[in-house]
Amino acid sequence: MNHKEPLVRMKKRSTVSLKQAVLVRLVAVLLSLVVCAVFIVIVTQQNPLQVYAGIVDGAVGTGRRAWVTVRETVVLLLIAVGLAPAFKMRFWNIGAEGQVLMGGLASAALMIYLGDLLPNVVLLVIIFVASMLAGLIWGYIPAFFKARYNTNETLFTLMMNYVAMQIVTFCIVFWENPAGSNTVGIINSASQKGWFPSIAGNSYILNVIIVLIFTVLMYFYMTYSKQGYEIAVVGESQNTARYAGINVKRVIKRTMMISGAICGLAGMVTVCGAGHTISTSTANGRGFTAIIVAWMAKFNPFFMVLISALLVFMQQGAIQIATQFGLNKNASDIITGIILFFLIGCEFFINYELEFRKKQKEA
């Protein structure tokens, strides 16, 4: 009998050192940058080093660009922070896009209707509550049906995104400014009501503060609170959770309300803290990218910061090289995609190891 051993076989690693895990990810990032460079060179026929210099320049080249990069990073981070508890619970919330939009919509509505009536601080506090409430409702609806009838949450939340988008276009019809433009334009551009105030001359400091507070809060909630532990147990096994006396349905609904509320807040940060307008592209795909960020970071907030920073850095850089070399702006999506493929793929080499066939002496 001739049993042929396969050339490579894989086995699960029992443990992996932090050094190894970091090394694998670094190699993956470097490889992805090489592949991106190859792609860029084929399309632009430019020296790849020059192109990467362009990316760095675009992301952090000037003070303003660097702050835009920071602003975009913290929004992405906030959405990922919001999604983390849902995913930890194995609830596939693909609806962050819609939850962000609803939060943004609530913010824009209050800016428009209450902008002239209230002082800015009061208005911002009201918007803060309302945007979280809007996201909370949008997250609660699929969770309710998941808990009640075990309805597939992946597709439910996905469809909710498009319902939210239609609600936004519906509102734009009434809010458009100037008439006929089909856009809302900059809201309260003269009075700056409902805008985040600048602190120490910088208009994005408040964004960073809010996001950092919520990131830290979420870290403690997930690691040290009883509710955070319940989320982890439900995620591992619903049967175990039930056996331990955890009310699974309540945990699902409660966690999704928290998740949706934070995503709604991200809508406020985008509308009041950055764009000062509302459109269907206010969320701009961040709801989807944040899923990948949260999942790849294994819900560790520190890794979430790193991954969102890397992705936003490359996106902002790609926008710059697009103008510099006359490409169109969608190049940034391709680059993001390539980096993600490598980062996702490298997880395998952290969890498994390959064993090559040993040379055997002929018997």
């Binding site: 693909i94 019809v173 993600l340 997880e347």
Partner: protein
């Protein structure tokens, strides 16, 4: 009467792209892979078909529509199959999380489509300037003689060949999954890969084949949209959310490609209903555009409420298989 006829015609025209996507996704999901990358793959299929036709028509003196059609068709199949291969390698060989890979693939594919579509427009001299008329005409050629019959002609025989192909494929997939040994094996893999493995079925090979072939079929939906529906041009983000609707349709059709045919026409009708309901204000039109998604949500809730065993997704859907794991 005429209005109803055009409405049905347009609804079918809208539905076919979604039907291709749903048929492909059904094949993939039956192998236990939930591929959320379908929207991206459909963009890739569409733009590559367009590129093939564009470069062919610009390099020959007198382009032949049929040759252009073959080139576009082959390009769409190959490139979307490659998209499927990326997904298959990451989820099957590297056992990455399927949802995450799918979403990344959608980001990548949508960017791929808009990037090359936009670059092609620029090459052709501006937005909407791409013209692959000859090939577009070939894709839109209807069945001669039969399409002249009043009422029945426009209703049944006035479409390009991709429309008929999509319906044939939907029937073929249902037949394959229920009547052939390979189809039954594939379903076994999707229900319980460990059992299938023990029965001597090559799980990896089945998963790979289903994912790649399914992606190629879904890519034809993008090709249909670009060549037949638009007549051979590119609109940035024009394909929109049809890819997600295709994934929703899989659930609505309860993983049966044959029922997806009716579902796709229903989706198509809901998609364009706002144009045909008289006297809608602009705001109300936006409300009508919500219907495809609301209907999907309602169907989702009702099927989960009824909870019939034969209406369930493949049992192993969304999980990767590792032989040594218990």
């Amino acid at each position: 009467m005429n209005l109803i006829l055009t409405f049905i015609q347009k609804a079918i025209g809208q539905g076919i792209a979604i039907l291709f996507g749903a048929s492909g996704e059904i094949l993939i999901e039956k192998s236990g892979n939930l591929n959320l990358g379908i929207p991206g793959i459909m963009y890739m299929g569409g733009v590559s078909g367009l590129m093939g036709a564009f470069f062919y028509e610009n390099s020959v003196e007198n382009p032949n529509g049929f040759v252009g059609l073959l080139i576009a068709f082959a390009m769409a199949l190959v490139v979307s199959a490659l998209g499927g291969l990326i997904y298959a390698f990451l989820t099957i060989s590297l056992r990455a999380n399927q949802n995450v890979v799918g979403l990344a693939l959608t980001t990548f594919g949508t960017g791929f489509g808009n990037f090359f579509g936009g670059s092609l427009s620029k090459l052709a001299g501006g937005v909407g300037q791409i013209s692959v008329k000859t090939t577009g005409e070939a894709f839109r050629t209807t069945i001669p003689v039969l399409s002249e019959i009043p009422v029945i002609g426009p209703l049944l025989f006035s479409y390009g060949f991709l429309t008929y192909l999509s319906i044939i494929l939907a029937f073929a997939i249902t037949w394959f999954l229920t009547k052939t040994r390979k189809g039954l094996n594939l379903r076994a893999v999707g229900e319980s890969p460990a059992t299938a493995d023990a029965a001597g079925i090559n799980v990896t090979r089945y998963k790979y084949s289903a994912t790649i072939i399914g992606a190629a079929i879904a890519g034809l939906g993008g090709l249909y949209y670009v060549m037949d529906y638009l007549g051979g041009t590119w609109i940035e983000n024009g394909f929109g959310d049809r890819g997600w609707l295709a994934i929703a349709l899989v659930i609505m059709a309860l993983w049966n490609a044959r029922s997806a045919i009716w579902g796709s026409i229903l989706f198509g009708a809901l998609y364009i209903l706002y144009i045909y309901v008289p006297g809608l204000s602009r705001a109300m039109q936006e409300v009508f555009k919500m219907f495809p998604y609301l209907v999907t949500i309602i169907v989702l809730v009702f099927t989960s409420r009824r909870n019939k065993p034969e209406n369930q997704p493949p049992a192993s859907l969304g999980t990767s298989y590792f032989r040594e794991e218990r």
